[in-house]
């Protein structure tokens, strides 16, 4: 009888132990599962963040007009007008004002050079000969 009782007790304990194993395994599986979920969520978030950033990069050049700073314009205008001896250029808040004399055939070349410097505006006050 006693032997039978202890056998039963053993069996009961083994069953309990098995339960513990399953429980531990279950918890472990849950933790792994939730971690995986989190890591995949992070990946998705990263992609989601990157997408609008890309859109902004492609959109910015379309909307913003680049205007050179006065310091940079003053330096560049010297190079741009160097081959036009009668021409004087002044820069004020992005606006280039051209004064002096030029012949009509040379005017487009000068304007091409000046327009390429990214000014805000060009005031052509030149006296045109011919």
């Amino acid at each position: 009888m006693r032997c039978g009782q202890s056998h039963l007790k053993n069996l009961f304990m083994k069953k309990n132990l098995l339960h513990y194993y399953f429980l531990v395994f279950g918890i472990f599986a849950l933790i792994i599962g939730s971690c995986k979920g989190k890591s995949s969520q992070t990946t998705t978030t990263d992609t989601a963040v990157t997408a609008p950033a890309d859109n902004t990069i492609t959109k910015t050049p379309d909307t913003a007009v680049i205007i050179s700073a006065d310091d940079s314009l003053k330096k560049m205008i010297t190079d741009a007008t160097k081959d036009f001896p009668g021409v004087t250029a002044t820069v004020d808040q992005g606006v280039i004002t051209l004064t002096g004399n030029i012949t009509r055939d040379k005017l487009p070349k000068l304007m091409m050079s000046v327009n390429a410097l990214h000014p805000k505006k060009v005031n052509n006050n030149l006296t045109i000969n011919k």
Partner: protein, 138 residues
Amino acid sequence: MALKDKYKELIDAATTAGVSDLKVREQDNVLYIDGNTANGTVKDNLWNIYNKIDPDFRAGDLILNIDASAAVGSKAKVATQSSNLNIRKGPGTDQEIVGKAAHNEIVTVVSKANDQWSLIRTDSGKEGYVYSQYLSQA
């Protein structure tokens, strides 16, 4: 009249000619037209249209910036009016002249220092910076 309407012929011509990266924007009563072309004739033609719409460019309501300078790695022709083109040690007219390229000479564009200056190499091996405006795609 809106500036885009005033310069419609110019915008249409740029579109038809296949000007790449074409941007047309209006800001503070000035129209800004930017774009690139590998063809210097297209640029000249657009400037002729600009000059026709606004004779002698007096209105001050358009900034036309069409870049037709030769691309990096390509051959370029020296497009001065008739004179030689100065080759300089650095990008700027304050830099020492290290050589000259003849009018219509073909040179190689090595790199671009900025919007204005390109590093070039002549067939005789001279290397230095020239004003990009005087280079056209060969």
